[in-house]
């Protein structure tokens, strides 16, 4: 298959927004790409890494987002165009470096892409990362289409190089993670000499900070000038619209659709902004001065809306009285994703017209026919997932230990242990590495009468990302907890990217596999390793570690992610339920296999009154055979 590097210039290709961003970087002559994976941003560096050999560039999965931005900045300092990509939580991790990189400035073009996840489909928050542009005084671009995702990224490198500062590009799920046709341009080979040669003793330092702060403000003022004539900002509609819509990013398509649905192209105008910080003030004020009603359509926070209001506040005589409709007025939701329906509703309400709907009789019929049948699907561990087995043993061990022990959680597939397929075992979820940090704190409360055992769970990629400092904190401060590393040898939640422990780099080359076990041993802690599919051994080891108080101890539960494994080898077993042995509801086990174990490969056959294997879903891991008290679930060699 063609990669984003080999698609011919001039052709139309169906690209994910993230791939379009990656192609834009290639067309800008990017030489260095880095990221820590995170939905909905992962495919940017993922596709650049796949294309790296064809394109003659370097791409890496960095250990976390701060390091990703640092490595990309080094390339920029040395004269190589560089891109770093991350999700909205990731920019928080990178922000410590970013808040001095903005003062420092850059050399070759440096683009930082942040992809927000409104509605937190795959996140622990839905923060709006755009605020960071204002906080850090950095120029911000927001693509509204897949074509713009490519073209803006390409332009962002020129802009960064002209201003000598980082240029931010903000995606959201419905741009970054959606797909559309994109007309491609010509890729540019990196082909630049790289050399670190500062032109002054402080060129690559953030100090003297006050002086650099004022230079940073000058750069922002220049960005504002450039944005006044950007081709990514335009107005379409009547000269004096009844309603002016100001929108950016995902809001643009929805606004266009809403105008069509309401048939208001004669009376509603749309000011579409691609450069949202700093605002192109002249352009915006010119449009605002022609309107009386303004609807602002954007995702998640009222970032654009409040910046517009601030601008209006300083220019009251120029724009006259205005009524704003948006998040402030409650017309556009302030939480969660927006969609065509919310925007049609907001526009109809601002115009004082009815929102059209499908025939009500159909809607009522559809609801009444399907409502009781469409049980929600609870997201949970896959059939054959090692995490299910680990949490099964962990639940048993904590119960047998009987001192009220509990689990602090972290970020990864195993976060789903908040729910039924991980037996509700995880009790806290915040940021990367926070499970171990919290455990380190809980484990110091003994002197204050705290007696509950604490287990911190953490995935292998999360271990490298942010849990190591928390683990060292626990060791240094003689905290009392068990760290359970769920090592499935992949960054599974975001698409199975390799990481520091896997022995492969982003470009598929073999590299050092950092040994979690040896690293923990070097800290002087007790380390055990278990295979989660051995339920008895895992439970025994956990019980022993829980009892071994007086320090930090580590259990590594190691088994490859089933989805990765299934690509590499056939299922070890063919599972079946022996109908003679399965006693169904008369067993006394109270349907332990289906009601409690909750593997999607096992289902309850209400006609037969017995368990049944779903052969399409079952992965043949064999674990359920060990939980059936009647030995009715049978492993057969596949």
């Amino acid at each position: 298959m063609a990669s984003i590097a080999t698609h011919a210039p001039g052709t139309d290709q169906l690209l994910m927004g993230n791939e379009a961003i990656a192609r834009g970087a290639l067309e800008a002559g990017v030489g260095f790409a880095s990221a820590y994976p995170g939905t909905p941003s992962s495919e940017i560096i993922g596709s650049l890494a796949e294309a790296a050999k064809d394109a003659g560039i370097y791409a890496e999965w960095s250990v976390n987002e701060k390091v990703a931005l640092e490595t990309a900045a080094a390339a920029s300092f040395a004269g190589v165009r560089a891109i770093a990509a991350m999700k909205q939580n990731g920019i928080n991790v990178a922000s410590d470096f970013l808040m001095t990189l903005n003062l420092t400035g850059t050399n070759a073009g440096l683009v930082l892409v942040v992809s927000d996840d409104p509605s937190a489909h795959s996140s622990t928050n839905e923060q709006d990362a755009r605020t960071i542009a204002k906080w850090a005084d950095l120029p911000l671009l927001e693509p509204a289409t897949f074509q713009e995702a490519k073209d803006m990224t390409r332009w962002a490198f020129d802009l960064s190089e002209e201003l000598k500062t980082v240029c931010l590009v903000r995606g959201v799920t419905r741009v970054s993670h959606a797909r559309g046709d994109v007309r491609l341009g010509e890729p540019m080979p990196p082909g630049r000499a790289s050399r670190f040669a500062p032109n002054s003793p402080v060129q690559f330092a953030s100090i003297p900070a006050t002086l650099k702060h004022s230079l940073m403000h000058q750069k922002l003022a220049k960005a504002k000038e450039i944005f006044e004539s950007s081709r990514f900002n335009w107005y379409a509609g009547p000269e004096k619209p009844e309603l002016l819509v100001v929108t950016c990013g995902s809001g643009w398509f929805y606004s266009l659709e809403a105008v069509k649905v309401l048939g208001k192209s004669d009376s509603v105008g749309i000011l579409k902004l691609g450069t949202t910080w700093p605002l192109p003030e002249k352009l915006v004020l010119e449009r605002l001065s022609q309107a009386e009603k303004v609807l602002v359509v954007e995702e998640v926070d009222a970032f654009l809306e409040n910046n517009l209001k601030e601008l209006v506040g300083g220019n009251l005589s120029a724009v006259g009285p205005l009524t704003f409709y948006g998040k402030g007025s409650g017309h556009v939701p302030s939480c969660g994703e927006i969609n065509p329906d919310t925007v049609v509703g907001a526009m109809a309400s601002a115009l004082g017209v009815e929102k059209p709907a499908r025939p009500p009789a159909y809607g009522e019929k559809a609801q009444s026919l399907t409502g009781l049948l469409t049980h929600a699907r609870v997201v949970g561990f896959c059939a054959g997932c090692p995490h299910r087995a680990t949490f099964w043993s962990l639940k048993r061990a904590l119960k047998l230990d009987a001192r009220g022990g509990f689990v602090t959680g972290d970020i990864g597939c195993y976060t789903m242990a908040l729910g039924p397929t991980g037996y509700f075992q995880i009790k806290t979820v915040q940021a990367m590495g926070s499970g171990t940090g919290l455990a380190s704190g809980f484990g110091k409360l003994g002197a204050l009468g705290f007696k509950q055992p604490v287990v911190a769970v953490c995935g292998d990629s999360t271990f490298f990302h942010a849990a190591i400092p928390a683990l060292i904190n626990g060791v240094y401060n003689r905290s009392n907890f068990t760290m359970l590393v769920l090592d499935n040898s992949a960054t599974a939640m975001t698409g199975f990217q390799p990481h520091a422990g896997t022995g492969t780099n982003a470009m598929g080359e073999p590299t050092v596999a950092v040994d979690i076990e040896a690293l923990c041993r070097a800290l002087g802690v007790r380390v055990e390793v278990t295979d989660p599919f051995d339920l008895r051994d895992t439970t025994d080891k956990l019980l022993d570690l829980l009892a071994d108080e007086g320090g930090v101890r580590v259990l590594i539960s190691r088994r490859k992610c089933q989805l990765v494994r299934a690509r590499e080898e056939k299922a070890p077993y063919r599972m079946r339920v022996d109908s003679e042995r399965c006693l169904g509801d008369s067993c006394g086990c109270n349907r332990l296999c289906t009601r409690v174990f909750q593997c999607p490969g096992l289902t309850w056959d209400s006609t037969a009154g017995a368990a049944r294997i779903d052969e399409v879903v079952c992965s043949g891991c064999g674990v359920c055979a060990d939980i059936c008290p009647a030995s009715a679930i049978v492993r057969e060699a596949a």
């Binding site: 065509p340 025939p359 929600a376 289902t603």
Partner: protein
């Protein structure tokens, strides 16, 4: 059938059924045929037993946003029956065409015995009442007969193409399958695709 612009197609199913791949394949064929195509996906749960939906907007005139408005689907391709009903409840309308796989993937509530899965007859009846035309196809059983459950989505793609609901025919899709599949998997997939076309053109299995 009058040509809709944009044509709104929803591919729905459960994580792991290959929903996203099918939507992309349709998208690539139609972009090559000169259409603007936008695809939006629900995801995150895409490998983990959750409901997964792809929205396709297909237009000669302009690119559309990646989400279809409520009640706005023209075609629903359901890889799983319950998910097909869920999509109709939100995006259906009296004009919609539905092509659904008959094989359930039980939600946990059903697997655990807390809820009942609707019968095939119940599902077929609802599809009939909520669509202008509907097919219920035993695609997973056919796929297992052909040797691999994973072929279900290619059979369903064949059925979709066979129903003439898309503005591109079998040749264009076979060409894309030839380009995108490894040689050792091509023949079986082509066989599955053609079998899917027959399921709707032979006129035997309408719901």
């Amino acid at each position: 059938m009058e040509a809709k612009d944009p044509l709104n197609v929803i591919v729905t199913g459960v994580g792991g059924q290959g929903n996203v791949l099918i939507a992309q394949l349709i998208g690539r064929v139609l972009v090559a045929a000169g259409y603007h195509v936008t695809i939006g996906e629900t995801y995150g749960a895409s490998q983990r037993g959750g409901a997964v939906m792809s929205h396709l907007r297909i237009s000669h005139e302009a690119q559309y946003g990646p989400l279809i408005p409520e009640g706005g689907a023209h075609v629903v391709l359901g890889l799983e029956p319950l998910e097909t009903l869920r999509v109709l409840a939100q995006y259906g309308n009296p004009e919609v065409t539905v092509i659904a796989n008959s094989r359930p993937v039980h939600p946990l509530a059903v697997a655990t015995g807390a809820a009942e899965y609707p019968s095939r007859e119940q599902i077929a009846g609802i599809l009939d009442q909520l669509s202008s035309r509907a097919w219920l196809i035993d695609a997973t059983d056919i796929a297992l007969d052909l040797g691999a459950g994973i072929l279900t989505n290619v059979i369903m793609l064949g059925a979709l193409v066979g129903s003439s609901a898309l503005p591109a025919g079998p040749d264009a899709f076979e060409g894309e399958l030839r380009q995108s599949l490894p040689a050792d998997k091509l023949d079986l997939n082509l066989q599955a695709f053609r079998r899917g076309i027959l399921e709707v053109t032979a006129g035997t299995t309408s719901a």
